[in-house]
């Protein structure tokens, strides 16, 4: 099969905007392990890009390289044409915000306070004005609260503004992470498995939410295991397997790619779906198999990942 990777951005028809994020040749090694191997990825304005791959493929590690939590061993990440400094707070300042696979809320702060923390980079009142509480401070604080409440409204959490984050049910915690990230007024939002642990209705709602976010002019890069979610949402999908980008393309292209199916199912099962798989059933098989592999490896996967963001 020919390489289906679409040359991103430059000129080709499906690219809706100008390049926002460009990762070039990103390599991340942990000792002998190469978790991310020479990955290129471009996200354009107005796009929703999916990043899929089996557990341990290096998706989260790649996110960490993009957001400055890890300093890539090699490679370069630019946002709006400037090279990103490898410091998470500067990345957020530049306009990229993220959520975490293992929810990392500020558990003992209220829902509203969590979102207010997200406003941090877009506010600048310092300690002196916080103590003096002049009109400038009060205006900024009121503005922050208003914007934060609007985001809670947007994500459907407004009723719970004064609850402690830790007391929210799982699905709402994920939503709160998204609201908190949006509070930093990003140009690009990175979501790491936003529907993990959600029931089907919640997943549908999250789909709507991601579309709504895109409609606000925010590009989205999303890691997800739910194939229906990914193929419904994404303009392009990149597949990461063992740290390398295997395929990148539209949903149709990726669903049809035999290597993706093989990577998800593992070789022993290659014949298992039986029929001479056309694109549709192939994707189904992929989605089902992933659900299995996801839940099976979750138990062991979550614990070591806890400290790796």
């Amino acid at each position: 099969m020919t390489d289906t990777t679409i040359a991103p951005g430059t000129g080709s028809a499906p690219a809706p905007g100008t390049p926002l994020l460009e990762a070039r040749g990103v390599i991340m090694r942990f000792g002998g392990l190469t978790a991310v191997n020479n990955v290129d990825l471009t996200v354009n304005t107005g796009e929703i890009i999916g990043l899929i791959g089996p557990n341990g493929a290096g998706k989260t590690t790649f996110f960490n390289c993009l957001t400055g939590l890890y300093i890539p061993t090699e490679g370069q990440v630019t946002y709006k044409g400037t090279v990103l400094p490898p410091k998470p707070f500067k990345v957020t300042q530049a306009g990229m915000a993220r959520t975490f696979q293992n929810i990392r809320l500020f558990h003992n702060m209220s829902v509203l306070e969590n979102v207010l923390v997200g406003r941090h980079t877009r506010t600048k009142e310092g300690i002196v004005s916080a103590i003096l509480r002049g009109p400038g401070y009060r205006r900024e604080e009121a503005d922050s609260r208003e914007k934060a409440m609007a985001l809670l409204e947007f994500t459907g959490l407004a009723r719970k503004a004064s609850h402690l984050a830790r007391n929210l049910p799982y699905g709402e915690q994920r939503k709160l992470e998204i609201a908190r990230a949006l509070a930093s007024e990003p140009g690009l939002l990175l979501l790491d498995e936003p529907t993990a642990g959600m029931n089907p209705q919640e997943t549908r709602a999250t789909e709507e939410l991601v579309f709504a976010i895109r409609d606000r002019g925010i590009a989205v890069l999303v890691i997800e295991h739910d194939m229906r979610f990914i193929f419904n949402l994404c303009d392009r999908v990149a597949v990461l397997v063992q740290g390398e980008k295997l395929v990148e393309g539209t949903s149709e292209v990726v669903q049809a790619d035999e290597r993706v199916i093989a990577a998800y199912l593992g070789t022993p099962y290659e014949a298992a779906p039986g029929s001479t798989a056309d694109a549709g059933s192939g994707a189904d098989a992929g989605s089902r198999a992933d659900a299995d592999s996801g839940s099976a490896s979750d138990a062991e996967g979550t614990i070591p990942e806890e400290d790796e963001q």
């Binding site: 939590l69 957020t92 975490f100 990392r104 558990h107 941090h120 009142e125 916080a130 990230a181």
Partner: protein, 587 residues
């Protein structure tokens, strides 16, 4: 998250199988008799301090028993659902009754045992003493027969089971607001009672009385918290923040006027210095979650700076700053030291930070000891320190002299007490405003999850440094007053652990036991620790041991401290609140 296995929500049985009416009657009678017994003579000999030989009038420790017995009666009557009293017990009267009954028994028996011990045998007790002991026991027996209104939390540890007997603090939704005038009155009464309790505690002139007082006060506050009364009060003060704060400061300012001599003002001013410093440490430990074991050094920097610019003859810097300038200089230099020490140390996290700060705290003391003109340049006067620091004159008002205001004479320490109170007000204002701002949210975010905080755009290092600097500044501010209060500044007090506060360990304990992240917690913690060591002098040699034991017990049974900020309470007792909620839902 995970399913919590909850025991079925059946009401647990009381410890004694009494009919409910009998139990209620017994508590009420026991409480009344306990209170009444305070008017009897308890011993033949007046050599026990406080003179408990008088019939017809309570003395010394009998006052404590009187109040404890009255509280038992009060809660018992509230158990009868008498209208006005129910306001005291929105979370149920019976659990609280058990607590006060234990408190009344403990403080009464403590007195009786102290009499027998000091005078040589039980023969020294008169029949009045025996009546007091039996009455308080009857009250407790009745209380143990009262129905229980909470489920057991399935606790295995026997000590925890006993502590859980009266049930957990209720998690009540805020009560509907009363008319504003009533609420303001309630706050005023509460503040006045608080002042009364504090004054009684600080006035106690012998260790036995303080011991009995402490027992009764502890159980009474536990009971009020269990009954939900304190929660109600917190809701009300929360609705009138400024008013409550102003009233509390007025009450504190009135304190020296209730004193006939300067001795308790000395305790008061040192207590305030300790409390103000603890509040500064609270920025670092409570809000930002950084364990600083060398914090007292910043108090030292402030004290030394103020001493150097005070115009003392022994100062190596021959300048005399007006006090406002000296205070600002001390605070600023201390803040700069905070940055200098923080910049290298804050690059390490957790336990490492604790060890490095411990080291820096010791370095401060050693350096100050050696800048004596022999081992190094003469800056601090070495072990002799800087003595003979002149008294302050503010608006032509010499704080070293006694002044008579409204017929009441305020001595030197009372003057400094009032000055330090102004400083406390400033520190409280700075603490509460910064903690409820963008800056404070960044600190708490770092405490909660540093990685997530940086991913939200917070420059964690910079904000940790800011917390360190602000904490140091506040300690420095307190230090400038300390220099003048104590006449001299020497290196000795600025150690990690010692028998006398403030030292780093006591400061940390005041914050942790008082309640991290709150304003009142560290102040109450500081008051408790200061009074304990000032009043229980006979414990001097065991003090650090007892201190260690208290710390361990607290971490085991009440990790959120005395004044729990609601958030931390939920954090530490999540499972218990859950089961409590279940039980109320089931009932």
């Amino acid at each position: 998250m995970t399913e919590t296995t909850t025991t079925p929500a059946t009401a647990p049985r009381p410890a004694l199988p009494l009919p409910e009416t009998a139990a209620r009657g017994l508590v009420a009678v026991g409480g009344l008799a306990t209170a009444a017994s305070a008017f009897l003579s308890w011993t033949y000999s007046s050599s026990f301090p406080g003179d408990l030989t008088v019939t017809g009038y309570p003395g010394g420790l009998q006052w404590v028993t009187l109040v404890a017995g009255a509280l038992v009666l009060l809660f018992a009557l509230s158990g009868y659902r008498i209208r006005g009293l129910r306001w005291l017990t929105p979370g149920g009267a019976d659990g609280a009754t058990v607590i006060v009954a234990v408190g009344a028994l403990a403080t009464t028996w403590f007195t009786l045992i102290a009499i027998a011990d000091e005078l040589g045998g039980l023969a020294n007790l008169t029949s009045g003493g025996w009546i007091a002991g039996i009455a308080s026991l009857l009250g407790l027996l009745g209380a143990l027969g009262l129905p229980r209104d909470r489920t057991e939390s399935g606790e295995k540890n026997p000590l925890k089971r006993i502590l859980a007997y009266p049930g957990n603090r209720p998690d009540l939704s805020p009560a509907p607001a009363l008319p504003a005038a009533v609420e303001l009155l309630v706050i005023a009464v509460a503040v006045a009672i608080g002042l009364g309790i504090f004054t009684f505690g600080i006035d106690t002139s012998y260790g036995e009385l303080f011991g009995g007082f402490l027992i009764a006060a502890s159980f009474a506050s536990w009971a009020l918290s269990r009954s939900g009364a304190l929660g109600r009060l917190t809701d009300i003060t929360g609705r009138h923040r400024v008013y409550s704060a102003v009233l509390a400061f007025v009450a504190a300012a009135v304190f020296p006027f209730t004193q006939s001599n300067d001795a308790n003002a000395t305790i008061g001013v040192n207590l305030l210095i300790f409390g103000g410093t603890a509040l500064g440490l609270n920025v670092v430990v409570g809000l930002t979650g950084l364990l600083d074991l060398g914090y007292v050094a910043f108090l030292g920097v402030g004290a030394y700076t103020a001493a150097l610019v005070s115009g003392a003859a022994t100062s190596s810097v021959h300048v005399t700053f007006p006090f406002w300038a000296a205070a600002l200089t001390g605070a600023a230099i201390s803040g700069i030291f905070g940055i200098i020490l923080g910049a290298p140390t804050l690059r390490v996290r957790g336990d490492y930070l604790a060890i490095v700060t411990l080291g820096f705290g010791e370095i401060f003391r050693i350096v100050v000891n050696n800048l004596d003109g022999v081992s190094g340049p003469n800056v601090t006067g070495g072990p002799n320190g800087i003595p003979n620091i002149p008294d302050l004159t503010i608006f032509g008002f010499n704080l070293g002299n006694s002044h008579t205001i409204g017929g009441i004479t305020l001595g030197r320490f009372a003057n400094y007490f009032e000055l330090m109170l102004v400083f406390i007000a400033i520190i409280v204002l700075i603490f509460s405003r910064s903690s409820s701002s963008r800056i404070g949210r960044a600190w708490v975010a770092i405490r909660e999850d540093e990685t997530a905080a940086t991913a939200m755009g917070i420059n964690a290092f910079r904000f940790k440094l800011l917390a360190f600097a602000l904490g140091a500044t506040l300690a420095g501010l307190a230090g400038t007053v300390m220099a003048h209060v104590n006449f001299s500044v020497v290196p000795d007090p600025f150690v990690f652990a010692g028998p006398v506060p403030p030292n780093s360990a006591f400061l940390l304990a005041a914050v942790v036991i008082g309640g991290m992240g709150t304003v009142t917690g560290p102040l109450i913690g500081a008051a408790l620790f200061y009074l304990l060591q000032a009043k229980l002098q006979f414990l001097q040699s065991y003090q650090l041991l007892l201190f260690g034991i208290a710390l361990i017990l607290f971490m085991r049974f009440r990790p959120e401290g005395l004044i729990a900020n609601k958030q931390r309470r939920l954090e530490f007792h999540e499972d218990e609140t859950e089961s409590a909620e279940l039980s109320t839902a089931g009932a």
